[in-house]
């Protein structure tokens, strides 16, 4: 089994003059084709006046992952990192990083994506935006 932390950000578009983003991190133990156990989920919201660049995305993800008590390789979709090469993004993170590859990593990413999008919808509803 391998420990991973799948991270996804929703809301990278301007609404009412600013960017309201929600980042979700899912820590899980996986095999190559199965998700064995979800260890912890962390959600954080971020507000910004300008569109996030790569370094902003990295710091948002790092802040969200900091709340996770379990270790693991951080995993994202290449599109979240503006399709930059893996070695470049890896050097920006304090822990291990890689893009999604196996079936289980993709499944975990899908989970993080649904969590971040649902949490953001809830937030928008509460804020009546």
């Amino acid at each position: 089994m391998f420990d991973i932390i799948a991270v996804d950000i929703s809301g990278r578009h301007r609404v009412d003059g600013y960017y309201l983003m929600v980042c979700a991190a899912v820590a899980a133990s996986v095999t190559a084709d199965h998700l064995e156990k979800i260890n912890q989920v962390s959600i954080r919201s971020f507000r910004s006046e300008s569109a996030p660049d790569v370094s902003a995305v990295v710091s948002i993800m790092e802040e969200t992952v900091a709340e996770i008590r379990f270790g693991g390789t951080i995993i994202t979709e290449p599109g979240d990192m503006y399709n930059k090469p893996q070695w470049l993004i890896d050097s920006m993170f304090s822990g291990n990083f890689k893009y999604e590859e196996s079936l289980s990593e993709r499944l975990c990413m899908q989970l993080a994506h649904h969590i971040s999008i649902s949490a953001r919808r809830l937030l928008l509803k509460e804020l009546e935006i």
Binding site: F2, T31, A32, D33, H34, P85, E101, S102, L103, R106
Partner: protein, 419 residues
């Protein structure tokens, strides 16, 4: 053999090793389509909107085309209609990209009605967004009809759309037939096992070794286009093993959709044997495994996957173990075999047996009578009889699916109450 020039544009600061592998794959694809590669041109730059590569490179290409007398220019990068038109205007030769090359290979391999329809659908899906531009380039001197402007473009694009709809309808009908066949096979107790993997991984060789068949095997990409199914005995249980079309990197969505009814053999199987060529460099295996995961992702149902490290005879045991360990996060349930030499196929069968849908194991007592004996012979056909003893009654240690066990139990109960 036809002669071709390969052209590839690399993005600046892209992975050099990956670029080399992509060019190697394009070379293999050209070989599979029956071309002799006489020259390879590579340029590193950002894409040019008119020519994909730079204008100077296209002129160099045009000179090479004349000097080497080639039949076709094959680009690795996807080309727009305008790029194809502009390059062929300068080179005066047919220009195609990687996807058109794959379609050419598929067209030569397609033998059944279904595969011919799939190839035609893929071609039309590729052509549709380009249809308007192609016609407006071809007919730019003409202004058809009373109203002029656009008459040809609209009618041609509409023709393509209509044909796509008709083919999709026909393929959907075939897909439904496939579903019915799959369900009936399931209800008759057969488990479905599919061979999947990157093209030229050795799936057909493994298929032949397992079922002792003689399916066409070649050291070429896309030898298998039409899925072939045969029954295979796996330690007493009969499974249906299907050999399928191979995966390739960056396969566009429209091509996956066109071949959906073929790929469904993989997506709807009970167990998938994911075959990799273990003799290739580690990075190549990793890249091909990622492509396989990417192609299967989203379509795959609750399926067990066994990774078959084929061509194991070409490596030492230590090296093989290292590779299996390094690729553990991408290769579920790894088994090393040599399909060509027939090594370790028993281990693969044992692994396959442990991943087949679970059957219950029960003890049943049947009356020692003529009817009881005919029930025993039916149970031998439908399930696995681990042990049988004949005394006052017939005691059977049986492993079978629910439907068979229920039938045997109700038979035993019926006979016990009537006696």
């Amino acid at each position: 053999m036809k002669r071709a020039i390969l052209v590839k544009r690399n993005d600046p600061r892209s992975d050099e090793h990956k670029n080399e592998l992509q060019l190697l794959e394009l070379r293999e694809l050209a070989h599979s389509a029956g071309y002799t590669v006489v020259l390879e041109l590579v340029q590193t730059r950002h894409p040019d909107s008119r020519y994909q590569v730079g204008r100077g490179k296209v002129e160099e290409l045009a000179q090479a085309v004349q000097a080497l007398n080639v039949d076709k220019v094959i680009f690795h990068n996807p080309l727009s209609t305008m790029q194809i038109y502009n390059i062929s205007e300068i080179c005066r030769r047919e220009v195609i990209d990687k996807f058109q090359l794959i379609l050419e290979i598929f067209a030569t391999r397609a033998t059944t009605h279904r595969s011919k329809l799939q190839v035609e659908l893929a071609k039309l899906e590729y052509e549709l967004p380009r249809a308007r531009a192609i016609i407006s380039i071809l007919k730019k001197e003409e202004r058809p009809g009373f109203m002029g402007l656009g008459g040809y473009e609209n009618s041609y694009a509409q023709d393509v759309k209509n044909r796509i709809d008709r083919i999709k309808d026909e393929l959907e009908g075939m897909e439904r037939d496939g579903d019915i066949l799959r369900r009936s096979r399931h209800s008759r107790g057969f488990s479905l096992v599919a061979l999947a993997g990157y093209t030229n991984a050795g799936k057909s060789t493994l298929f032949n070794s397992l079922v002792k068949e003689d399916v066409k095997v070649q050291d070429m990409l896309f030898t298998t286009l039409v899925p072939i199914t045969r029954s295979l005995d796996v330690e007493g249980r009969t499974v249906l093993l299907t050999d399928t079309v191979g995966f390739i990197e960056d396969l566009p969505h429209w091509m996956v959709d066109a071949f959906r009814s073929t790929l469904n053999e993989i997506f709807l199987a009970d167990v998938v044997l994911l075959v990799v060529d273990s003799s290739e460099p580690l990075e190549t295996i990793r890249r091909k495994l990622i492509t396989s995961h990417e192609t299967m992702w989203e379509q795959l149902q609750e399926v067990e996957i066994i990774t078959v490290f084929n061509k194991a005879e070409l490596l030492g045991q230590e090296e093989l173990n290292e590779r299996m360990l390094a690729l553990g996060y991408l290769a579920p349930n790894p088994v090393a075999v040599s399909a060509k030499k027939g090594f370790c196929l028993d281990i693969l069968k044992a692994e396959l047996r442990s991943h087949l849908p679970k059957w219950d194991r029960v003890h049943i007592s049947l009356p020692l009578s003529e009817e009881g004996m005919s029930m025993v012979s039916w149970l031998y056909e439908e399930g696995v009889v681990h042990n049988i003893s004949y005394g006052d009654s017939i005691d059977i240690d049986l492993e079978a699916r629910d439907a068979v066990i229920n039938k045997a139990r109700s038979f035993a109960k019926e006979r016990a109450s009537s006696s």
